[in-house]
Point group: C2
Chain length 489, copies 2
């Protein structure tokens, strides 16, 4: 290898569907992580970290049709691995591997990978972050479920997102509806997938799909249509309870019982006003077994940038992996549900076959788009530097005080203060003020050619307009305490 | 997919060379990240996040012999990608893609991937974290270099690691030595690789490798041997300056000039006492062009656990990828150097061919082993829960106050306090105290069957021995303020 060989000629870019994060965007995203993490910890959450890739067989058979979107690692000898598709399956694998953990509230904030059709302006990427909180363990019915929904509300509220609704449904009620309407048992999951599209396409299209593509009888589809248009609160629960046909179904009755208990807890936790019990919510993933939910907001779909979204669907696929999925989803900023059987799929013995779980996952990229759109970016600082250390002087004898500036910075750093200086031996005052201004440092510490010899520096507040603060002389020995006090004020 | 099908029969594990992080280990590791991040920010660092995989051609030709350790993604149509091997090459790619960034102090804490022979007890994994700080831009010589070394000292000191030395050398001095000793120009990098092993094997072995494997003449090897045994501080610099043969070499003279300037700055930053100028330090990576350094500590190699390390070398490879690399390294906890030409390798035009960089990278897993060994793990809490909310009561009328406990928790959560309660409708006092004890919650808030009806709860300090605190009655309206004050005290 020789660095001096000719420059390389390939396109300089990140892989399709991935991007670099930098500058002020990173500040905003870190704030989102910090906010969500602090809510998670408030509820007793502990965090875990799993490898970014798993043995391929761990992921196999967990994602239904979406399995084709899994990224595989190349076979380079040894084990076959794939990049994780979500954080839920690795969590279930972790629980199955650690049978001594019988109860856990775990959170995990990390990247997941899907070979999906990227739609960057809508916040859909191939590499993206998920923030998951899950409660695993045998508990009395619906208590952890209620707390998970409370965490959902708290996180979004803490992120200053107020105009959201939690669409809530129960897989057992939905399965009961399909059964009483006459859907054959083996078709339930694919009919459920069709219903899942109702937030994006009208009923007529879903009905057509059920009949034309999934072979459902029209009168069965019509019966389903009557149910899935229902939404409401506790009132809807009462209407369903009055439906004797449905309530005669074992699955539906069990779901309704769960929902009754849940609504009591949601009232106690003040979550109920945010909830819409919505029989059209189905959720794509196969592993849910109890309540399911999605948080949606009017702000979920930010306006398209540069017209990209408008062209998306008309564009011809450019390469082989571009037409993997043609539907561009918008909508939910958080979602989840109860999955009582996923851990059992990994269990090595009958003994530890049951580990009920319920969880919620936040889509960071979508939250980011919403929050950034509301932010005054000119006021966001990329660095947190408190102090810019400068030197003023002139004449033949002037050294530029470079080692002296380093010594003053060292003092500030040792006191935990954030300080920078210009990497120049004899900088001009203007250059130093410009550099301080560029990063928005609130304070300057100035080493004057004469004053510094007398053990003094000048501390000056910046960003208040030219010469708004003439500065204060401070003894070098008292500098860090003085600066710390000023920053606290 | 049907979750109810038979349990799967493969081995439940994480891929070779990877592991899950959980519980108290996560707390300690998070603390390391927080400490390092706060030092990085103190120096004006901004963070970036790059994708976990890069286009394969970005990584090609950057790692010399180690390129065989790169993980490739499977070709599933579309672009060919590989997992990142370090954070430096992605940073250089980022800079080349963003030519408007002419100066940046960036840090990046993230996982990297190497298909290496794992040696877990020594903290060597296939998936591991690096914490990098790099300064890019055209500056006056050696100023950013000195600050990078100061950051190294500050980070390790902040992590309470005191017994470390920074081994320091300069590629130009080393290249000059090889040249004056008579190493043919095309053999410099491979002879340098041999020298790089001197911290692990004696000179006799390195000399043998140079002669037998790399075809060097014995008298050339002997001359090199005289140089690479030298170490010291500024004194060594003076000895080298007195070596007229070496100083007549252009490369060596340039390196010595750099080192003279650097030592002035290291004195100002109080880094000098930690530095050992060591002519045997070579560093494996090809892309270094200036100073190079490694932080080593006596604690770098923690004692082997379960005798695993002793068996490592005797074990026969079990699968195809087990014998990729046979040397098990110990030693450095941080390392880095100056690389002025890496960004230029990506430049698309002549114009922006130069972006000098200098950086340091901390090995988190090794720091973790050292810090964990010193920690009293029984005092580390896995959760940060402040308050356990309980209910005491009995008799026929006793409801268990579940919704009431939820309401109290909700109050505490809304005030930013960390609270949990038992997921049981009628828990016994003992069960609740045990649960609080298990997570080490410092406070209990108790809803008494009668008192709660009067708008009062009891706040009790925990973990002080049985009945050490009888508890204090507090009005529900004043609860959050009371608890917040108690936690502050």
């Amino acid at each position: 290898m020789a660095p001096k060989e000719k420059a390389q000629q390939f396109t300089l870019k990140t892989p399709k569907g991935t991007k670099d994060w930098a500058d002020k965007d990173m500040i905003i995203r870190s704030r989102i992580f910090d906010t969500i993490t602090s809510v998670f910890k408030r509820h007793g959450g502990v965090t875990i970290d799993t490898p970014v890739f798993e043995l391929r067989e761990i992921l196999a058979g967990k994602y239904g049709e979406d399995s084709k979107l899994i990224y595989d690692l190349k076979d380079q000898g040894g084990e076959l691995c794939s990049l994780r598709y979500d954080l839920t399956v690795p969590f279930a694998r972790f629980l199955a591997m650690n049978p001594t953990i019988q109860q856990i509230k775990r959170f995990h904030i990390a990247k997941v990978y899907r070979r999906d059709q990227p739609a960057m302006t809508k916040g859909r990427m191939r590499e993206f972050y998920q923030c998951d909180f899950d409660i695993a363990g045998q508990y009395e019915s619906m208590i952890p479920d209620a707390e998970i929904l409370a965490i959902g509300v708290e996180c979004l509220t803490a992120l200053a997102i107020d105009d959201f609704v939690i669409k809530l449904n129960h897989r057992k009620i939905l399965d009961g509806i399909f059964e009483v309407c006459g859907v054959p048992a083996q078709d339930v999951r694919k009919i459920s997938s069709a219903v899942d599209k109702l937030d994006k396409v009208p009923w007529a299209d879903v009905k057509k799909e059920m009949i034309d593509e999934k072979g459902l009888a029209e009168e069965v589809a019509d019966k389903i249509g009557k149910y899935v248009e229902l939404k409401g609160g506790v009132d809807l629960l009462n209407r369903i309870k009055a439906d004797e046909t449905l309530m005669a179904n074992e699955s539906a009755a069990a779901g309704v019982k769960d929902m009754e208990v849940l609504f009591t807890y949601l009232a106690a936790l003040d979550v109920e006003p945010k909830v819409s019990f919505d029989l059209s919510l189905a959720r794509g993933l196969d592993y849910y077994t109890g309540i399911i939910y999605e948080c949606v907001t009017g702000a979920s779909a930010p306006p398209p940038q540069d017209g990209e979204a408008n062209h998306d669907k008309k564009k011809k696929p450019k390469d082989a992996d571009e037409d993997v999925s043609e539907y561009v989803g918008v909508g939910s900023i958080a979602a989840g549900g109860r999955y009582d059987e996923l851990v059992g799929m990994f269990a090595q013995s009958k003994k530890k076959a049951v580990m009920p779980c319920v969880g919620i996952s936040f889509g960071v990229e979508r939250l980011f788009s919403i929050i950034k759109a509301k932010e005054d970016m000119s006021k966001v600082r990329a660095t947190e530097t408190d102090v810019y250390v400068m030197a003023f002087g002139g004449g033949k004898e002037w050294t530029g005080f470079l080692p002296e500036r380093m010594q003053i910075c060292k003092k500030l750093w040792d006191a935990g203060l954030r300080a920078e200086f210009l990497y120049k031996s004899k900088p001009k005052p203007r250059q130093q003020f410009d550099a301080a201004d560029k990063i928005g440092a609130p304070l300057a510490v100035i080493l004057g050619q004469e004053e510094y010899g007398q053990g003094k520096v000048k501390v000056k507040q910046l960003g208040m307009g030219e010469n708004a603060d003439e500065g204060t002389d401070v003894a070098v020995d008292e500098l860090t305490a003085y600066v710390a006090d000023l920053l606290k004020a």
